[in-house]
Symmetry: C2
Subunit: 108 residues, 2 copies
């Protein structure tokens, strides 16, 4: 992710519990959606991790970019299948990132 | 987490890469800090997952609550040890949650 972002930018926090149905269609979709999100205008980056719950955060330049991604035709199909098949529960939060700082062990 | 939150509330997004040093002091600290955060004023909830990267998101009623937690004496010690020992990299983002929606498979 570009480290020279201007503020504010936006985070979409997606937290989820997977349904019991565990074929590999979920992983295929997740890979495809990640690749597709990266081609979208205003997309800044994505971070994801899963243990008991899954957390995926995508970062966007503005709300318009988020809305465009939400309405993207292939993403709409994934959302629909997600409700039917992949997720027991999910929550989406749209948040405005107001400040940030970081630490790197090897920073001089 | 209480589902009847009023907006806005705040998310502190903590993403990290662990250092190679893998004794169990990290897990002890993580459990302790989670328990301690739950006792803080303005604390609303916490979600965490780790694979290649770790993502921990804590939710807070307001910025003052976040600042209080950042300066908490035991949390300060954890932050210091984190830089010295536990983390290769981390990033902290403070974000204002502006809207949210969720899905539950068994919702009537």
């Amino acid at each position: 992710m570009n480290n020279k972002l201007s503020f504010p930018y936006y985070a979409v926090i997606f937290t989820s519990l997977r349904a019991d149905d565990k074929d590999n269609s979920y992983d295929e979709m997740a890979d495809k959606m990640t690749a597709l999100a990266k081609t979208q205008d205003c997309f800044l980056g994505l971070e994801t991790a899963r243990n008991e719950i899954g957390i995926t955060i995508s970062y966007w330049r503005d709300i318009k970019g988020i809305q465009g991604w939400k309405r993207h035709s292939e993403h709409l199909i994934a959302q629909k299948t997600g409700k039917k098949k992949w997720y027991k529960y999910y929550k989406v939060r749209v948040a405005k990132v107001e400040r940030e700082y970081d630490f790197r062990q090897d920073r001089p």
